[in-house]
Structure formats: structure tokens, C-alpha cells
């Protein structure tokens, strides 16, 4: 039983990670008794499971994910929302608060129109159906202000940080309100343009250098410099 890849080692698809009775975790696959990487990313192992933390990849919705999406079409009884996933999401009228007996198209635009940004939660998704969203819940609904930033969804965990440490640091240092969608769409709102700018710069820096060491300190240092 051997693990060939070191923790945090950059691995490419097809690279041998381990041999023996290990379990293939995310972004790995097993062939015989060997485990290989299937995506470019950083190798890691949790107990007996080998995983690869991906550096790139599309957003695959999960139930309970908080997402920020754009309304792209109005359907019979709801809206089609682009959540940057390979599947269009559906927000049914029944999943909006205070929707009672309204079905005509004219009524639907009273809630959301094509082009609107919405903060929503994924309530259903599987291999055979497109994702289903809801905006019934605290903090969900139409976005009315703020700056929209798109980050690669693979880097969102790094942007949030362990127990939210990274995103808290950004919020604290810039004083901005930052809402992070799991699908890579982020909303930033600050009182000063400079603060907003710094928060955005920090996000892009995290996106670019997510796989490096000492990132937290470098981001903190960059923000201090910019905000001086």
C-alpha cells in the first residue's frame, strides 16, 4: 500500500496517486488497485481516501447550495435562471414568497424580469433533471445593488477559507458586504469605491494563487497596502 503523491502536490489527469486498498475520492478514479487523478489539481488524502482538489472546473450544483444567478427566460410558471452550471436552473413561481394564484406572464415580470440577478438556493438536482431553485428564505431574492464578480467555482472554497476565515478577513479589512455564491458569482458592496476595488482585487488574487502557500498573509498585506 503506497501513496505516491505528496499532500498538496500538483497532479495532472492520469497521474498515479496511490496503489493498494485506498478509496477513490473526488476527481480520482480507480483502475484495478491503483488510484489515478482525473483532474488537474492538488492531491490530498483523508484517512484512506485519495482526493484531488481541483484547480479548474465547472460548477456542479448540490442541494442546499447558495447561488447567485441571472434570469434568462420566463417560462409558463416560473423563470429560467443561469447559474453558470452546465444545466439551466428553474425557479418556479411557487418557490417565491407571496405568490398566490398568479400565472399570467405579465404577473411574473412583477417579480423577476429577464436580466435580473437573484440570490437563491438549490432545492433539487440529479442526473435526470435540471436544478430547481427557491428564493423563499432569509437573504434570498432579487439583487438590487452591488458589484458582480465572477470567480472560478473551483476557487470558491479557497475564497471562503477554513471556517470562513479568508472571506471574514476580506470583509473586516475592507468593510464591504460580500455575498459569495457557490456557483462562482460574488456580490460586493462597499461605501467607498476604493474599498470595493480592493476587495475585488483580493478575490482575483485568491483565484489566481489558490494553490500556493502563504496566500492569506499575502492577501492581507496587499489589502493593507491598498487601503492605506
Amino acid at each position: 500500500m503506497t501513496i505516491f503523491a505528496e499532500k498538496k502536490q500538483l497532479v495532472a489527469p492520469g497521474e498515479l496517486l496511490a496503489e493498494g486498498s485506498y478509496f477513490p475520492g473526488e476527481n480520482t478514479y480507480r483502475e484495478g488497485n491503483k488510484i489515478y487523478a482525473s483532474r488537474i489539481g492538488l492531491a490530498d488524502s483523508v484517512a484512506n481516501k485519495l482526493v484531488v482538489v481541483p484547480l479548474k472546473g465547472c460548477y456542479v450544483p448540490r442541494i442546499d447550495d447558495f447561488v447567485i444567478g441571472r434570469v434568462v427566460d420566463i417560462a409558463m410558471s416560473g423563470w429560467i435562471v443561469d447559474i453558470s452550471a452546465p444545466y439551466p436552473a428553474m425557479l418556479p413561481l411557487s418557490e417565491t414568497p407571496a405568490a398566490r394564484g398568479m400565472t399570467a406572464r405579465k404577473d411574473l415580470t412583477r417579480f423577476f424580469n429577464v436580466g435580473d440577478l437573484v440570490m437563491a438556493e438549490v432545492i433539487a438536482f440529479d442526473r435526470t433533471r435540471d436544478p430547481l431553485l427557491t428564493v423563499r428564505g432569509r437573504g434570498l431574492g432579487k439583487v438590487s445593488s452591488g458589484r458582480v464578480v465572477h470567480i472560478s467555482p473551483a476557487k470558491i472554497p479557497r475564497l471562503i477559507g477554513r471556517k470562513g476565515s479568508m472571506i471574514s478577513m476580506l470583509k473586516k479589512m475592507t468593510g464591504c458586504e460580500i455575498v459569495v455564491g457557490q456557483n462562482g458569482t460574488v456580490l460586493v458592496s462597499g461605501r467607498q469605491p476604493k474599498n470595493e476595488q480592493t476587495a475585488v482585487a483580493a478575490m482575483f488574487m485568491i483565484e489566481r494563487e489558490a494553490h500556493t502557500r502563504g496566500l492569506t498573509d499575502r492577501v492581507s498585506e496587499m489589502m493593507s497596502r491598498e487601503l492605506r
Binding site: 500538483l10 492520469g14 483532474r39 488537474i40 465547472c58 452546465p86 494563487e209 494553490h211 498573509d217
Partner: protein, 243 residues
């Protein structure tokens, strides 16, 4: 004209078992989900991948897996005599065999009802463009974060003046006696594309295949290095700034 001189060297100075100089770059395009650029001899080819994304038109979507779409296209200025931009029968055939060369490597079952679109644009062509195209496209797929069993490498082998020659250039392809493009997945020992035209005895064919496979392995190593280089550079630059 002689393709091999008295010293056993080819028109461009190479030995029979030498690849042309190869340069690879990953992630050069901004809008595509994944991209790669390759220079192999005088070939200049860019490959881009979009996806997985919604399948268009909807009816081509497959229930159990992603549809793979592939377009191999040559720019009108890519060859000596301007080529019409309309897809030729050759481009249509190559689009098919290149798609089939890459399909096995893609774990398409993970994205049912979507489409993974591969675009290969040959900006300059000088023999072996379908192989270089596959090499670049496979890198673009990896760059896009599409789950792959492994990266596919491709290379052609020819026969010039009766001798087996690795990676024939355009003139060697036109004036030579045989051309054998091969795409290979080294870890799985799987040949995903093999075509041939010309004339080989069984023995010559076996020898040609013996030449193609190690060359593909070498190209595969270059692909992995090019893929990682993109991230390693960022890492080094970042850590350098902090120091």
C-alpha cells in the same frame, strides 16, 4: 528531390527517429473554458474547449453522458495555396476521427445531457496537423478541468525513400511512400486513433508502430509538463514576491 542526404539527414536536418521541435502553451485564451497552443515544426495550432455546457440543439443531448462535439478546421491562410473557408471533406473526416480519438479519455458519464465542445484551428499546417491537433485538444480538455482518464498524445510516422521516419513534415508526407498517424494513451496502452495511407509491408508497419508509441509517450510527458507549468509559474512568482 532527395528526402534523405548522404549523412542520413532529412531535408530539415533531422535524423530519421527525431521529432520536430515542439512548443506547448496552456490556457492562452480568455473566454474558452480550456485552451492550448502547439507549435510542432511549422505547424501552428490552437485548440479550445467549451463545456460541459447545455447541449445545442437540445435533441442531440444524450441521457447517460455528455455529447462530445469536435471541429477540426484549417484557416484559409494555413497552407501554401489559399484554402476555401468552407469545411472540406477531409476536415469533416478528421473532425470525426479526432473526436473518436479523444472520446475514450473523457469521463463523459459524469455530465449527462450536456455538451463538451472541442475546437481545433490550424493556423499553419505542415504535415501531421491532425496529430498536433489531438495533442493540443487533449491539453485544452485538461485545462478546462474536464475529468479525463488520461491525456491523449498523438504523433505520425512516415516512410521516406524506403526508411521509417518519425513525424514527417508536409514535403515528406507528399513525397514519401506512407503516412501513419497514431493517437495513444500511454497508461492504458490504448491506441485511440490509427489511420494509414501509402504502402507498408507487415514488417514495415510493425516497425512504424514501434516508432510511434515511444514518441507518443515522450509527447505525453511534454503535455503534462506544459499543463503544470502554468500553475507552477504562478506559484513561484507569488512565493517570490512574498520572500
Amino acid at each position: 528531390m532527395r528526402l534523405i542526404d548522404e549523412n542520413g539527414l532529412r531535408v530539415d536536418g533531422r535524423r530519421l527517429d527525431e521529432l520536430r521541435p515542439i512548443k506547448m502553451e496552456v490556457g492562452l485564451l480568455d473566454k474558452a473554458d480550456g485552451s492550448a497552443y502547439i507549435e510542432q515544426g511549422k505547424n501552428r495550432i490552437v485548440a479550445a474547449v467549451y463545456g460541459p455546457r447545455e447541449a445545442h440543439p437540445k435533441h442531440i443531448a444524450l441521457v447517460e453522458r455528455a455529447v462530445i462535439k469536435c471541429r477540426y478546421h484549417m484557416a484559409p491562410f494555413s497552407v501554401e495555396e489559399r484554402k476555401s473557408p468552407a469545411p472540406s471533406r477531409r476536415e469533416l473526416e478528421l473532425s470525426k476521427v479526432i473526436r473518436e480519438a479523444l472520446e475514450t479519455s473523457i469521463m463523459s458519464e459524469l455530465y449527462p445531457r450536456t455538451s463538451i465542445d472541442i475546437f481545433i484551428e490550424v493556423l499553419q499546417s505542415d504535415g501531421g496537423s491532425r496529430c498536433a491537433g489531438i495533442t493540443a485538444a487533449s491539453l485544452a480538455l485538461a485545462d478546462a478541468g474536464i475529468p479525463l482518464r488520461e491525456i491523449v498524445a498523438a504523433c505520425a510516422v512516415g516512410k521516406i525513400e524506403g526508411k521509417i521516419a518519425l513525424d514527417p513534415s508536409d514535403i515528406e508526407d507528399k513525397e514519401g511512400e506512407a503516412d501513419l498517424p497514431v493517437a495513444f494513451m500511454p497508461k492504458s496502452n490504448a491506441i485511440t486513433l490509427i489511420q494509414m495511407d501509402g504502402s507498408f509491408t507487415e514488417e514495415e508497419f510493425n516497425q512504424a508502430l514501434d516508432t510511434a508509441i515511444p514518441a507518443c509517450k515522450k509527447i505525453n510527458e511534454m503535455q503534462i509538463e506544459a499543463l503544470k507549468r502554468k500553475y507552477v509559474t504562478v506559484k513561484e512568482q507569488a512565493e517570490e514576491r512574498a520572500a
